[in-house]
Symmetry: C3
Subunit: 146 residues, 3 copies
């Protein structure tokens, strides 16, 4: 247990993606860690959020088998097809399932910053979860602390 | 990439609801934006959370078809009826499904504040998700930054 | 609506668990409240997150019937068995379901701190959700504010 004092400092950065697959997971932990270093914040909070509503930022294990399980599981809970099963797709979209998949996976994570670094557990890795790819999309990293 | 310094400032506000339907989605983006303006915070974080455990605050698209899809999907994953299917409802409640629906949709969002405004992506809108309405309930907006 | 100013202060604490059951929910609200008191923060944000990817921190009702409903519901959405149904389990693990269950329940909560206390709604209680227990695991509490 430690208590720290100081001036408040903030930092903002965007990460851009244009992924070749409709659905794809990308480990962005190194990018977020770099943003933390760039911020100069020693103690604080780091918000990482998808800026698009068919994508997710979440924390889990960087293990290929698990990622395949996620794909199969999300397709069971919120199947992409038939596209016509979703009212949203009557607007001309085909991505209603991506809105639902991202809801399960979550929009954002908030990670503690301690002693100038991401304060993650041993297996925690930060992922960008794309559920409607093949277009330019971005993630916001916002850091506040001292 | 920018770094800002200053004094820490905080702000608290409640939004109240008494919705006529059991389940209903309300776009609260303008209310949260007002709270940010009132706070005077230029750079920081804005927490928006349901203060009740059968309601949600989430970010998604303001599109009616999608909202109908959410209703149908949540009823599939966590059906309201039969009420007797849930042990929680033996306490005299009939809202066990609302606890589960809110779990999927999420309790809270944390949104960045940049240059005095909510730092949202192009389609991001903040919603209050009511899953057990017809009573007074509230949302907390807590802002911290400089 | 109130606005506060001051120096930024931060505080970090870990909560440790070694639960006898594979799946178990623990009310950690008193522990988090103690951390807030220890921090001396009057106005701010309190992040509480599982540091393990097969566990959750979430907010809901402290009601036994509801907790039984959660267990049954999560087993329906992401069943533990057969273990061989998940590719992740080919690595020698048997906990793929725990990764999925925690995804539904969420990794973290962010709670407002107001006037030196957790700013929770009337029924909001903070839980540690264990989905792969019988081993030492921990939760991070990170507080920032003034």
């Amino acid at each position: 247990m430690e208590v720290h004092f100081g001036w408040v400092k903030s930092h903002r950065q965007e990460l851009w993606f244009e992924l070749p697959e409709r659905r794809q997971l990308v480990n962005i932990t190194p990018d977020v860690a770099e943003a933390v270093t760039a911020s100069g914040v020693r103690e604080g909070l780091c918000l990482v959020n998808a800026m698009h509503i068919t994508a997710s930022v979440f924390i889990n294990d960087d293990e290929n088998g698990l990622h395949a399980d996620f794909e199969q599981w999300l397709e069971k809970l919120a199947p992409e097809k038939p596209h016509g099963a979703y009212q949203h797709n009557r607007t001309g979209e085909d991505n209603a399932d991506a809105h639902l998949k991202r809801t399960i996976m979550g929009r954002e994570v908030v990670v503690a910053i301690t002693a100038g670094r991401l304060d993650l557990g041993p297996w925690e890795q930060i992922f960008y979860g794309e559920f409607d790819g093949r277009r330019r999309k971005r993630v916001l990293v916002k850091i506040i602390g001292e």
